[in-house]
């Protein structure tokens, strides 16, 4: 056993230098060779520890050769190794020895698995910066050349990513060689290599001298852009952005534009998609003149492309394209050359296209100004607000602020309202959820009066939605509205309506009142909370439904910090104490939890004056609360029971809605047998109603 032998031989062999010999490399290597992958992986991840323990010299002479020789392992281990080696320069003795790391990384750069290879290339790029110029030519460049002429595509693919890091610091003769190697990879027989070369073409062009760009990169670009495989051609479009930035307008026109024009009309939709996707970058790279002459017509074609993917990608770029046009003449160009095409897209057959357009079209109003917006854009917005696809309508509504700045929202309100109402009642709860989230924004832009007239009732209606997530969002929405419109408004419009629900026959609605109070109390402040909300909450402590009662306890805990000492002492505490004796285990639990929170608060409020007089008051309850044995288990069980009960109550509720005896309040004999009623649960969405948000 190596482990046993190690410590024995170590001290004797190495004498004075005790540290090094404590852990002979054999032991470490044994770990790196362990049969269990996870252990090997752990060892590799601590490779820097091993190296540091070994010291720079032994790392160079023993550890690295071992790593180089034994590179045949699980890809996961290799990936970790490739990553580690990128940060190893210090551990082998600094930049002078950085080249020692090249052999293992070279092997890693040739493995099959892409992630390993990519990581090895990344590490090599990192290390290349640490090489001295001499070491770079002596060690790094030869490595690149070896990889570039490797016989399997993996090494050639890896080489593509290394040219740009070694080129700038190489001598002229070497530079010529590097260019030569890159050229040959661009016309490699294997499409994988050509794709790798095409994806690095732009990066490489940036480090080349301008003459070489014109004489060598451009032809390569032209070739790749007309490759037989569309996967190569589309990568050339990406390179086009970088190349175009380097050339003068004249050169651009002569050398790049013919290829770009061709790409915009490529027979493969993937290439056209790429042009659309990179449009803003291309536009910036070629400058305003060529944009007007070439790109705008190309863009028009992309907007009416036959593939929806391409149209959607182009539609996404409409706003950026318009923004980046030169200010003088911009309006005319947009009005005459872009807008007609946009108009058609508004009634596109594909919803993704329409929704892509809807997400940016509002941005045009700031560019075009008030009059154009009213005359030309407004009809489009209105049409989109009536679109059959909810996503389109939502995208318009979510960007209303852009228009608001230019023409105010009033212009839209006529159409806005039906759109909002329709979304608010959409059959899909996710759509309803999305529109609720825009309510505070809309409220801010439309103003209190409009809101009260038209939207307030919607906000209240959501409170009794049959999906819990909507009810929850609706309560949050109310809170945000109160923050926006102030407490007075809340007191007059919201709070009374919320409180009325406290005596609703449906216990879910009664609970919603509690949730609203939880959310609103802080925004409304002490006075409203104490005078209006608290009495209702306290009254609900006598509810028949256990769920309501324990939510009363939770609410009291929640609003406790807002109340003053008197209210806490005289009103809240007695009620909680009573709930603490409840027959239902959950009510008891939450009441006790609330009680201790209240007690703590009281202690804090009182502590300066009468120290430690009161806190012992809820003594009887305290015993319950502290529950010395296994509280975790208890809670878990309670949760489960509660969840089950909630479901069964929902079922009762659902059953009751179907029946005619809605007036007969005491229909709930609670603690219904779950098993009997679960079968009646046919509204899947009800499952969203959950009590697990403590």
């Amino acid at each position: 056993m190596a482990g046993a032998a190690g410590p024995g031989t170590g001290p004797g062999a190495a004498g004075g230098d005790g540290d090094d010999s404590l852990y002979p490399i054999a032991v470490l290597i044994d770990e790196l060779r362990n049969e269990d992958v996870q252990l090997r992986l752990n060892s590799i991840k601590k490779l820097s520890t091993i190296a540091l323990a070994l010291g720079v010299e032994r790392t160079r002479t023993e550890l690295l050769p071992f790593l180089t020789d034994t590179i045949y392992d699980e890809d996961e281990v290799l990936l970790a190794l490739a990553e580690q080696l990128g940060n190893f320069t210090g551990l082998v003795g600094g930049p002078d020895f950085a080249h020692c790391l090249l052999p293992p990384l070279e092997s890693l750069a040739t493995v099959e698995e892409t992630v390993v290879r990519d990581k090895a290339v990344e590490s090599l790029r990192q290390i290349s910066q640490e090489h001295t110029p001499i070491a770079l030519e002596a060690h790094f460049v030869p490595l690149v050349k070896r990889l570039a002429s490797g016989d399997w595509f993996t090494s050639r693919t890896s080489a593509c990513g290394l040219f740009s890091v070694c080129y700038p610091r190489a001598s002229n003769a070497v530079k010529a060689e590097i260019r030569q190697h890159f050229r040959s990879l661009c016309s490699d027989d294997t499409p994988m290599v050509r794709r790798a070369a095409a994806s690095k073409l732009g990066e490489f062009a940036k480090v080349l001298e301008l003459d070489s760009v014109k004489s060598e990169i451009v032809p390569l670009f032209t070739n790749l852009a007309s490759d037989e495989q569309d996967s190569v051609r589309l990568l050339a479009v990406e390179a086009c952005v970088s190349i175009a930035q380097l050339l003068s307008q004249e050169d651009l026109e002569a050398l790049v534009m013919p290829t770009l024009r061709q790409a915009a009309e490529d027979k493969s939709w993937r290439v056209r998609y790429m042009v659309a996707d990179k449009f803003s970058e291309l536009q910036k790279a070629v400058g305003p003149k060529i944009t007007l002459n070439d790109l705008i017509p190309a863009f028009q074609n992309l907007l009416k492309d036959c593939e929806a993917e391409v149209r959607a990608a182009a539609a996404h770029k409409v706003k950026e394209l318009c923004e980046n046009l030169p200010p003088e003449g911009r309006e005319t160009i947009i009005m005459n050359q872009i807008l007609p095409f946009i108009k058609e897209l508004v009634s596109d057959t594909n919803q993704h296209v329409k929704s892509a357009l809807a997400s940016v079209i509002m941005g045009l109003s700031t560019i075009l100004g008030k009059e154009n917006t009213i005359e030309h854009l407004l009809p489009l917005f209105l049409a989109q607000l009536k679109d059959e696809c909810p996503e389109v309508r939502l995208n318009i509504i979510s960007n209303l602020d852009c228009v608001n700045e230019v023409i105010g929202i009033r212009q839209l309100s006529q159409s806005l309202l039906p759109a909002i109402v329709e979304l608010a009642e959409d059959a899909k709860w996710r759509v309803r959820l999305a529109i609720i989230e825009y309510m505070p924004l809309l409220a801010g832009q439309l103003g209190v009066q409009f809101f009260d007239e038209k939207l307030n009732s919607l906000c209240m209606a959501w409170l009794v939605d049959h999906v819990y997530a909507i009810r929850e969002a609706a309560t949050n929405n109310l809170m945000k509205l109160v923050k926006k419109f102030g407490t007075e408004w809340a007191q007059n419009t919201i709070v009374p309506k919320v409180l009325v629900m406290a005596s609703d026959p449906n216990y879910l609605h009664r609970m919603t009142t509690l949730f609203c109070i939880n959310a609103l109390s802080e925004a409304c402040g002490q006075e409203i909370t104490t005078k209006q909300m608290l009495p209702i909450v306290l009254k609900m402590a006598g509810d028949q439904v256990a769920n309501v009662r324990f939510n009363v306890a939770k609410s009291l805990q929640k609003i406790g910090p807002i109340l003053d000492t008197d209210a806490l002492q005289e009103e809240v505490k007695p009620v909680l104490q009573k709930l603490g004796q409840d027959e239902d285990v959950d009510v008891k639990y939450f009441a006790q939890e609330a009680l201790s929170a209240v007690a703590q608060r009281l202690r804090k409020l009182d502590s300066p004056a009468k120290d430690g007089e009161e806190p012992s008051a809820p003594g009887a309850d305290k015993n319950h609360f502290l529950r010395p044995g296994g509280p975790g288990e208890d809670t878990g069980k309670a949760h489960r029971e509660r969840a089950a009960r909630v479901v069964s109550e929902e079922a009762v509720e659902a059953a009751r809605f179907r029946g005619t005896d809605a007036a007969k309040g005491p229909a709930y004999q609670l603690h219904v047998n779950t098993r009997d009623t679960l079968a009646q649960l046919e509204i899947a969405e009800l499952v969203h109603f959950s009590q697990s948000r403590d």
Binding site: G90, K267, W269
Partner: protein
């Protein structure tokens, strides 16, 4: 080729989409999923589905081929072929019904004619035929409607122009299979570029199209000797891209099926190129997520290779062990199935080379909490041949699996597995009672040793960590002076802590 166009055909000038003669149809109906995504009908003339010729003229029915005298037959054939090169919009199912019918009838007649009439295929018609086929079948496949298309779960998108396309494929197939067909003439037109485009079509989502392509590519491979190496190379490019770049290609199973029969025909000894294909393409194909779609075909190819050359066994098995699924039990079961197929044909001399790592893996599978994996692994012991191999090498195999089997027999939750393991242990006992007893005796000891080792490991790492910290302090403190020249490494090693 352009000059040979007969007068009746349309000039194939670059298309100008503005001149669409198709009347704008009504709004697409609301219920078809396809209609939502597809190009707007009025623009479908420039669809990448099909590149239409401009100035599309009305197709008029031509006389039947069988009605004209032999002297006029070829002239009429050319005109029919040209007629079949006119493309129609199938996304709009009511557009130009008459034209579609004329083309369909002409295609039917061509299929009939090339299949049954001798002497039709003379040299001048080859370019016309290939052009007609190219125009019809070669197109950029449309974007998939469902980016997460799962061939096992989802319904494929069927090709809308299938009524014509099928006839074109049928015609192509009969053309290739015709006794008059002359590869020496056809090779001028069926070239590398043609084959490349044909291979790209294998990505079609429509299984009917892939089925035709499979048969056609098989015939092309059979008839055009000069294209064989190229086809193999392009197939491996497709696979490599599938493995390492995209993980998406619809026609992998079909291509593998063709390759299965190609491998079957390889001459011995195998060329390096072929061995490399096995090791660097077929084995890594096992790592792909959607393995289940093409596993049967892949396993067939692998076994074909091993039947040709048994010395490849070690490579293959080690490769499979390398790519052994770690989390996907469904794939694990497939791997076990393939392994058994391989073991069925393995030579005993090869078995010896891989028995240890292989049976360690099998033991790991037996201890899988997923009972199907465990069960599949245990079925190995039902295989007579494998059992005989185990028996011959029981001194290696038994120690490799015993510990795990013994442990699992006590711990597995599934009773079926437990009883299967008992059977296996019983077989071992009968096989070599002495060895079995020894292993049982040493089991406990080994367990203890393992724990001891784990403790030692912990100790080792703790010590290393201390040493590292000491060294870090040492580097930064004592050696500051000599390191002045090299601020970078100090920073780097500092960053390690």
């Amino acid at each position: 080729m352009e000059t040979k166009l007969p007068p009746a055909s349309t000039p194939t000038s670059p298309s100008s989409p503005g001149l669409s003669p198709v009347p704008p149809p009504d709004k697409v109906d609301g219920f078809s999923r396809r209609s939502l995504r597809r190009a707007r009908p009025r623009r479908s003339h420039s669809s990448s589905q099909f590149r239409y010729q401009s100035n599309q003229q009305e197709l008029t029915p031509l006389p039947l081929l069988k009605d004209v005298p032999a002297s006029e037959l070829h002239e009429l054939l050319s005109r029919k072929l040209a007629q079949c090169g006119v493309m129609f919009d199938f996304l709009d199912c009511v557009a130009d019904l008459k034209g579609k019918e004329v083309k369909r009838a002409a295609l039917n007649e061509l299929v009939e004619c090339v299949g049954s009439t001798r002497g039709v295929l003379i040299e001048p018609v080859y370019p016309d035929i290939i052009r007609m086929i190219s125009v019809n079948i070669f197109r950029t496949l449309p974007p998939s409607e469902n980016p997460e298309f799962d061939p096992e779960e989802d319904e494929p998108n069927l090709e809308p122009s299938w009524p014509h396309l099928q006839l074109v494929y049928e015609f192509f197939l009969r053309f290739l299979e015709s006794p008059d067909f002359q590869p020496s003439v056809a090779k001028r037109y069926v070239d590398q570029k043609f084959v490349l485009m044909l291979l790209e079509l294998f990505d079609s989502e429509d299984p009917r199209e892939r089925e035709y392509l499979k048969t056609i590519l098989h015939r092309v491979y059979g008839k055009f000797l000069g294209l064989r190496a190229y086809i193999r190379k392009q197939c491996s490019h497709i696979f490599l891209r599938f493995i390492y770049e995209l993980e998406h290609f619809n026609g992998v199973a079909e291509l593998l099926e063709i390759l299965g029969s190609i491998i079957n025909g390889f001459a011995l000894p195998l060329k390096t190129e072929h061995k490399q294909f096995l090791v660097r393409v077929l084995i890594p194909l096992h790592s792909v997520k959607s393995l289940s779609v093409f596993h049967a075909q892949l396993a067939y190819c692998v076994v074909q290779f091993l039947e040709k050359d048994a010395t490849l066994t070690e490579h293959v098995i080690r490769g499979l062990l390398k790519y052994w699924p770690k989390t996907c039990t469904q794939k694990e079961v497939m791997f076990l199935g393939e392994m058994e197929e391989i073991l069925d044909v393995i030579e005993p001399s090869q078995f010896v080379k891989i028995q240890e790592p292989l049976f360690k893996q099998v033991a790991r599978c037996v201890s899988s909490p997923h009972f199907q994996v465990a069960e599949r692994a245990l079925y190995f012991w039902n295989n007579e041949y494998i059992l005989s191999l185990i028996e011959d090498n029981c001194h290696t195999v038994l120690p490799a699996v015993f510990g795990t089997l013994y442990q699992v027999s006590k711990e597995h939750w599934n009773q079926t597995i437990v009883s299967l393991i008992y059977n296996v242990l019983k077989t071992f006992m009968e096989m070599n009672g002495k060895l079995f007893d020894e292993l049982t005796a040493s089991y406990k000891l080994e367990k203890q040793q393992e724990q001891q080792k784990a403790r030692e490991r912990q100790e080792l790492w703790r010590g290393l960590e201390e040493l590292r910290l000491r060294r870090l302090r040492g580097t930064q403190g004592a050696k500051e002076a000599p390191l002045q020249r090299l601020p970078a490494p100090v920073a780097t090693s500092g960053g390690q802590s």
